[in-house]
């Protein structure tokens, strides 16, 4: 309900996360929960950005590393590293991020379409760039991030041969 009001007011509510020192935003309605890093079981024969699987209260959840997904410099786990569990189109996936900061509201009007390339991330994965005061927030297009997997797998297989 609240969200509806927000959209009526022309606002978006975002969870703000950090990835390779950049600030990203994910729509709050897709975020299920945020958990601390835990041992991840590696699953063989998966694309390199798939870290493996974890046990989330009795359910097996795949975990991907957004750094690898976006070809960003390899991360190192820190105290602040988190797994952000998101659900898009019935698929639940954990994403490893460097830190999760806060929940922000930004007015729709201040969101611009993404430039072709920003901080090394392909614009297909982006929904836009939001400006709040002096901060730039890169909005992730989770549909693309999660569902473009097949393409990646095919690319990888082609590269392997």
């Amino acid at each position: 309900m609240k969200e509806n009001q927000n959209s009526i007011q022309g606002e978006e509510q975002l969870v703000i996360l950090e990835l390779s020192r950049e600030i990203y935003g994910v729509e709050i309605s897709t975020v299920r929960e945020i958990i601390r890093m835990q041992p991840i079981t590696h699953v063989p024969k998966t694309p390199n950005f798939v870290e493996g699987v974890i046990n989330l209260r009795g359910k097996i959840i795949p975990v991907i590393d957004l750094h690898k997904r976006f070809d960003l410099p390899v991360r190192e786990d820190t105290q602040d590293s988190r797994i952000m569990v998101v659900e898009v189109d019935d698929i639940t996936v954990g994403m490893v991020v460097d830190a999760v900061h806060e929940v922000l509201r930004i007015p729709r009007a201040s969101i611009d379409p993404p430039p072709p390339m920003i901080s090394g991330v392909d614009s297909t994965y982006l929904r836009g760039v939001g400006k709040l005061e002096d901060r730039l927030i890169i909005l992730l297009n989770l549909n693309q991030v999660l569902h473009e997997k097949e393409k990646r797998v095919i690319e990888q297989m082609a590269a392997a041969e």
Binding site: K45, K59, I60, D90, I91, T92, K149
Partner: protein
């Protein structure tokens, strides 16, 4: 929308019911063929036909109602001995059943007009008409009775109340007859009440008197004219009853009529009532029924099962929840153990231990009960086979005695659903390729009639199904030649193949030994499909055959697919689970024992060559092969072929809940899924079948 939904609700109930009744008819028609005089069997078929008629009519499926109505008429003639059970009649009944099945499928597929019922309707009608024209003695006799009936008709038509009606129906089901005995006393009879009492007493010895007209009180009080009626449930025939009553003095006339309820007016509610009232009836007729139990083949025909239909999804959900409980149970035990190690014998720990034990016992029971709820007797699959084998045999001109054992063996419903097709293939093969034609059998000194035995039983955590025939068996050398001819194996391989391995050639795709392709066995796609099917549900199939003596297939299946006993092993930093069902044995190998055959590492285990594989190669793990001096090897096998998989360390055996890796990751070759360990971490479950396939391709 709502009404549509409701209709589909009824539809599924209706279809379930029709299925059930078709099954009953199927079984009973076949047993009628063997035992043609058995009235109780006829009655069962009649009841089933009647139930289908009633429900299909109320659902508005007129074709089905019409066929079953005609069928019912034929069955009624059979029941009354106006028609005798002949092979033609059995064929007609079976054909009729096929039509009903086809009609049922039409309903499922929502096409109502496809199946033509005119032919069968005509055939059924012809049978009825032919019979009516025949001046059989039975019929004449019946007619003389009906003439008598004629004059009695109006006066003696009796209305039964519900309870009486039910008693009569149940009696009929149990194979008893209900007779109406109309007694007229001589006009100068002095002690009418006493005579009536004697009649009552003598009849009582024959069976159960369920009703008198007038009531017993009125009989005692002599409140009747010269006539009274008694209704008796008995197995005695008309003559016996008539003689007994006639032997009493001062009786003028006795008429004994059989009582049959008018089935036409019966509706579904009644038949439901019938089974409920069964219990009451059993009580009433206590002594009579005891005797009934000693009569074989009748008491088993009726079994009351109180059941509730549950959505399959609901059971799946329950199973998942229990799966999670099982995980927590193991975690609790782990925590308790580590607390015990840390704090020793603390009093509070004793309490925790007690609770933990109790919880593990309860979850164990709960798991077992829910597993049982998902279990079905394999009967559900087996029951359709006798008919199939009969038809196949008669088409192929072979005589076959088909024996089924262990129908009651229970299996998980997912496995039940999968096992039907492979079994059909194997049985078809047994009929078509296994059993020889009668003359050929006699020539080889065998009985003309072949035997196929289908058997199911539980062996520890597995279900074993065997299909055995005493046919011509399979000659391994013929298989080798055939395989060579078809280019399925190389010349070089054919020279060193063992007899046991040769038999397994039959499982290769594109292999058929039938000289001519028949309508029955198809074109040799059978056996590899059989094998695939069985392995897909974590089963194994083995073949054993002696030329001239027969062939035996042994299928081993897990009890359930959801929970699995596994061997946990450590490899690198990860834990992997091997399903126990696929493990043949575990051997310890010293690195000096390793030999090379064309670059492939092998070891000799009891004289047999065992190829060795490493998980890092099979699963493309990023794990540097350490130098191992001595290591355990898990020997896994599927249908005869065995390979050894090197592991670092054995952890132990554990019950694990299989979970899928999810849509995001999808199916990965070599992995069957994942499971959650006691400490909360995730371990991967190996898919031995996938690994074997990969190994085969690498060869």
């Amino acid at each position: 929308m709502t009404s549509n939904y409701d209709m589909s609700q009824y539809l599924s109930i209706f279809l379930d019911e029709v299925d059930e009744q078709i099954q009953i008819m199927d079984e009973n028609i076949l047993s009628l063929e063997k035992n043609r005089k058995d009235k109780s069997v006829l009655n069962s078929i009649f009841r089933a036909a009647h139930t289908i008629k009633g429900s299909s009519a109320s659902m508005g499926y007129e074709k089905m109602a019409e066929v079953t109505h005609n069928l019912e008429n034929v069955l009624d003639l059979l029941r009354q001995d106006k028609l005798t059970v002949s092979t033609e009649i059995i064929d007609l009944l079976l054909e009729c059943l096929d039509i009903i099945k086809a009609l049922k499928n039409d309903i499922i597929n929502e096409r109502d007009t496809d199946t033509d019922i005119s032919v069968i309707a005509k055939m059924l009608k012809t049978v009825i008409e032919v019979q009516e024209d025949l001046p059989q003695t039975d019929v004449l006799q019946e007619r003389s009775y009906s003439r008598e009936k004629g004059y009695l008709e109006d006066k003696y038509t009796v209305e039964f109340n519900d309870i009486e009606e039910n008693v009569i129906r149940t009696a009929e089901i149990k194979g008893y007859k209900v007779w109406q005995i109309i007694v007229s006393l001589v006009s100068d009879c002095l002690m009418k009440a006493a005579r009536a009492y004697i009649v009552y007493n003598n009849l009582k010895d024959l069976g159960e008197i369920i009703k008198t007209i007038p009531s017993t009180e009125d009989l005692e009080g002599e409140k009747f004219d010269l006539e009274f009626q008694m209704f008796i449930v008995t197995k005695e025939d008309r003559d016996r009853i008539e003689n007994i009553v006639k032997s009493i003095s001062e009786i003028d006339k006795v008429v004994v009529r059989s009582v049959e309820l008018n089935y036409e007016i019966e509706n579904q509610e009644k038949s439901l009532e019938l089974s409920i009232n069964e219990a009451a009836f059993t009580k009433e007729l206590g002594p009579l029924l005891k005797e009934d139990k000693s009569t074989p083949g009748q008491s088993e025909s009726i079994k009351i099962n109180q059941t509730v239909r549950v959505d399959v999804q609901r059971l799946e959900n329950l199973m998942n929840l229990v799966g999670e409980l099982v995980i927590d149970r193991i975690r609790l035990a782990d925590i308790e153990a580590s607390l015990g190690a840390k704090y020793g014998s603390e009093e509070l720990l004793g309490g925790l231990e007690e609770i933990s034990l109790h919880i593990s016992r309860i979850t164990g029971d709960l798991q077992e009960e829910i597993m049982k709820a998902r279990m079905f007797p394999i009967e559900q699959v087996f029951n359709r086979f006798p008919r199939m084998v009969r038809d196949l045999a008669s088409k192929a001109g072979k005589q076959i005695d088909f024996i089924i054992e262990g129908r009651e063996t229970e299996l998980d419903r997912t496995i039940i659903e999968e096992i039907g097709d492979p079994l059909i293939h194997l049985l078809r093969n047994a009929v078509d390729h296994g059993i020889e034609p009668p003359d050929e059998r006699v020539m080889h000194g065998k009985p003309a009639k072949g035997t196929i035995k289908l058997r199911a039983y539980q062996q520890e955590n597995q279900i074993v199904i065997t299909i055995e025939d005493d046919g011509k068996g399979i000659d391994p050398n013929t298989l080798i030649l055939k395989a060579l001819e078809k280019g399925l194996i190389s010349e070089e391989k054919s020279s060193r193949i063992s007899q046991k391995e040769a038999l397994n050639l039959i499982f290769i795709s594109g292999f058929s030994t039938a000289e001519k392709v028949s309508t029955v066995s198809g074109r040799g796609v059978g056996m590899d499909i059989v094998k695939n099917h069985i392995e897909r549900i974590n089963g194994m199939v083995k073949i054993h055959s002696v030329p001239g003596k027969g062939t035996k297939f042994t299928i081993k299946l897990p009890l359930t697919l959801a929970i699995n006993r596994s061997l946990l092993v450590k490899y690198g930093n990860e834990v992997f689970a091997f399903p126990l069902a696929n493990i043949v044995e575990i051997v310890n190998i010293v690195s000096t024992e390793i030999k090379y055959v064309a670059k492939q590492e092998v070891v000799l285990v009891r004289g047999e060559i065992l190829p060795l594989y490493y998980l890092e190669d099979l699963l493309e793990l990023k794990y540097a092969k350490p130098k191992r001096d001595k290591f355990p090897v898990v020997v896994v096998g599927l249908s005869e072929r065995q390979v050894g998989i090197v592991v670092d360390e054995l952890i132990g055996e554990q019950e694990i809940v299989i979970k899928s890796l999810g849509d995001y990751i999808g199916k990965i070759n070599g992995l069957a899924g994942a499971t959650i360990m006691g400490n909360g971490t995730v371990a991967l479950i190996l898919d031995v079948r996938g690994i074997m396939e990969q190994v085969r391709m690498d060869d």
